[in-house]
């Protein structure tokens, strides 16, 4: 008995030993910042000056229309961009999986390639393409589609469209891969049975493919939602720090600007981060419930 107990103790010790490096890193770089940031929330910490202000940062936040506007931008992008991207990813996946026979690998690569390009590099490229005297406007004017250049980066509405186009370009391929995997896991016999029963392609898509892809759709929406909540690079680089007139300002970008650009206000930035974390947590909880529901 005692022998066995010693062995269990030994295993226990070894277990702790093995996870010690990871645990140390986690404690130093994750746990400690999270705990210490709880303290930051109550401080007015500008540069090296620091004083206690209790809930002052949250009072300020409640009155800060730029912050709420930025959160609104996040939700707007979420509601508009994610459906476009998910539908596009699904359609592309179905076409690649069932529609075409040749060059499938090449097409797959082409569509996937954007999501391994650097966020900053592609934002800069889109900027150059879409500026008033850029290639996009010149081509459209040249072909007679429009008569006046579109202010892709200079008009609040078009700037948001630009961000949506850029995000869709970058992330559609990434999501398409999940749909391709999902499609391959659907049993071909179901389609054969449907064909025997005389179901057309479209009917098959809506009655077989779509219902069986629901878990993939949910997964895709969940990951995109958290990605959009943290959106930073595109508005920072593509539309010059959330411009024009803060039209593309997102929560993450505003937090960064308060801490590092327009103020050195780390306390306020931390307080805003907590609000974003709470919102992200609520979203995650709802979505996990939805995903869990599907599994049963």
């Amino acid at each position: 008995m005692s022998q066995k107990g010693n062995f269990a103790k030994y295993l226990n010790r070894m277990g702790w030993l093995f996870i010690a490096p990871a645990l140390t890193l986690f404690t130093v770089f994750m746990l400690y910042p999270i705990v210490s940031s709880l303290y930051l929330v109550t401080r007015k910490w500008k540069g090296s000056t620091d004083s206690f202000i209790g809930l002052g940062n949250f009072v300020r936040m409640a009155n800060d229309s730029v912050f709420w506007h930025a959160l609104g931008t996040n939700f707007f992008l979420m509601v508009v961009q994610i459906p476009i991207m998910v539908v596009l990813a699904m359609v592309l996946a179905v076409v690649l999986d069932q529609g075409i026979r040749r060059f499938r690998g090449a097409f797959r690569l082409m569509i996937f390639l954007p999501c391994i390009t650097s966020l900053v590099a592609y934002s800069v490229l889109f900027r150059i393409l879409l500026q008033t005297n850029g290639l996009a406007n010149n081509l459209m004017i040249g072909s007679g589609l429009i008569s006046q250049p579109i202010a892709w980066l200079n008009d609040p509405f078009w700037a948001n469209m630009t961000v949506i186009v850029a995000m869709t370009w970058r992330w559609t391929g990434y999501n398409m891969i999940f749909f391709l995997v999902g499609l391959q896991s659907i049993d071909r016999e179901i389609y054969e049975a449907a064909e025997v029963d005389g179901a057309g392609k479209l009917y098959q898509f809506f009655r077989i493919t779509l219902p069986l892809l629901v878990p993939v759709i949910l997964f895709s929406v969940v990951t995109s939602t958290s990605g959009t909540l943290q959106l930073f690079d595109e508005p920072n680089v593509l539309t010059n720090g959330g411009g024009p007139a803060n039209a593309t300002m997102t929560a993450a970008l505003y937090i960064y600007r308060q801490a590092f650009v327009i103020n050195t206000d780390f306390g306020y930035a931390t307080a805003m981060s907590y609000v974003v974390v709470v919102i992200a947590a609520i979203f995650a909880w709802v979505q996990i419930r939805l995903l869990g529901g599907e599994r049963k």
Partner: protein, 429 residues
């Protein structure tokens, strides 16, 4: 064997550490951001210094832009001063944010014996805190209105007749003619910033902040300045661009007939050699109806700062003092060199006797002696109070001006009200 190895290793480390220590004492590290401009100027200063002090190494580290330097300095300051250089370059509008947020971080150079009466006074203001003065002023952002003489001729105008003090009303009239005749906007405008308005307000001696640091936008200069922007925009005279690269291509490719900028843009203009002989530079237009307005203003400009905790503080200060703030002929000669080499015009007043200050420049129409002009205008630039909240004000005024251009805001008063609301929300009380 093992013992010998250990001993050897220990010895090697000791020697290494000692070597490092002596090397550090003779080394001054400088952070700046443009190898063709301020980095180049600092290297020229290092050459002059090394002639007398061959044992000192001046290491110039280039960053992609001024935010890169400011961001890394900020990270270093948060880490208790770790990894900071001896000297860093900051934009004049940025520095008060650092002086207020990080008290005692820079070395007091007035106490170290720098004579600030020899520098342009508008440069010394932002770096002064009580009786202390922290920086060594670098370049001037003396402004002018750059116009394409060939476009003016195409529009049936005589470029020479515009080389004089004009007002913004004159420019609106001129812009309308150019727009009507050759369908080009007279001035390329960058919507990602608000420097244009700041430049107009400063030319009239206006301020955005009261002496106590509180915001004051309801001034005659600010109202008149916003009205000028509205008039220019309504007449279709502003060629709208978004961001630096787009702005530069607009005037270098000839989409716009001109721009308002500072002396330091000359290097960028010269990067388009096909435009040689086409540019003229007019004095900054005068703001009508505001008392004390000048045909001169400032745009940009930066200064050098020594960190108080720098390991080689004395060495860094001695280097700056004996190059950037010295009447020694070699030092004055270096100011003359960087003016020609990079279009960098120093703000050390005794330095303006150099030969390049009166030289004609073939890149300009009829070889205009532009440096003499900019130096003359620099003397008239009214001082501007930046305060620690200057960047916050920009984050409120830039969107407000965008709304003015879109027609969502219609009068200067509406723009001011919008910017005030934005400022109150973004600033931390």
């Amino acid at each position: 064997m093992k013992k010998i190895l250990t001993a050897l290793l220990a010895l090697a480390m000791l020697v290494g550490v000692a070597g490092l220590a002596t090397a550090q004492a003779k080394k001054v590290t400088v952070w700046c951001w443009d190898p063709n401009f301020n980095g180049y100027s600092m290297k020229e200063a290092a050459k002059v210094y090394n002639a007398a002090h061959p044992d000192v190494t001046i290491e110039v580290v280039d960053f992609p832009n001024s935010d890169g330097v400011a961001g890394k300095v900020q990270a270093g300051l948060q880490a208790g001063g770790a990894g900071l250089p001896d000297i860093a370059l900051f934009q004049d509008f940025q520095i008060e944010q650092f002086i207020t947020s990080y008290p005692g971080v820079f070395a007091d150079l007035k106490a170290a014996g720098v004579d600030y009466s020899q520098f342009a006074s508008y440069k010394v203001g932002p770096m002064t805190e009580g009786g202390k003065v922290y920086g060594i002023p670098f370049d001037t952002g003396s402004t002018g209105l750059y116009l394409r003489a060939d476009y003016l001729k195409q529009a049936g105008l005589n470029p020479d007749s515009y080389l004089k003090n004009l007002t913004w009303k004159d420019i609106v009239a001129l812009g309308k003619i150019v727009k009507a005749k050759i369908n080009k906007p007279l001035i390329a405008y960058d919507t990602s910033g608000w420097e244009f308005l700041r430049m107009i307000v400063q030319s009239a001696g206006g301020q955005f902040f009261k002496p106590d640091g509180s915001l004051d936008l309801n001034t005659p200069a600010t109202k008149a300045g916003i009205q000028v922007l509205k008039d220019l925009n309504d007449a279709g005279i502003l060629g709208m661009t978004e961001g630096w690269g787009n702005w530069v291509s607009a005037f270098n490719n000839g989409d716009s007939a001109g721009l308002v900028s500072a002396i330091w843009i000359i290097g960028t203009l010269k990067s388009q050699p096909t435009n040689a002989g086409k540019w003229i530079v007019l004095p900054t237009p005068l703001l009508n109806g505001v008392a004390g307005a000048q045909n001169a203003s400032n745009w940009g400009g930066s200064s050098w700062y020594v960190f108080d905790k720098s390991k080689n503080k004395a060495g860094a200060i001695d280097f700056l003092k004996s190059t950037w703030a010295s009447k020694d002929p070699a030092a004055l000669g270096f100011y003359n060199t960087i003016l020609k080499g990079a279009g960098a015009m120093g703000t050390y007043l005794p330095s303006r006797s150099g030969s390049n200050y009166v030289a004609k420049d073939d890149f300009f129409y009829k070889s205009q002696a532009v440096y003499a002009d900019f130096a003359k205008w620099m003397e008239k630039v009214p001082a501007l109070r930046y305060t620690a909240n200057y960047t916050v004000l920009g984050s409120a005024l830039t969107p407000a001006l965008s709304k003015l251009f879109k027609g969502e805001l219609k009068t200067p008063e509406e723009v001011i009200a919008d910017a005030q609301t934005g400022y109150k929300q973004a600033v931390s009380q």
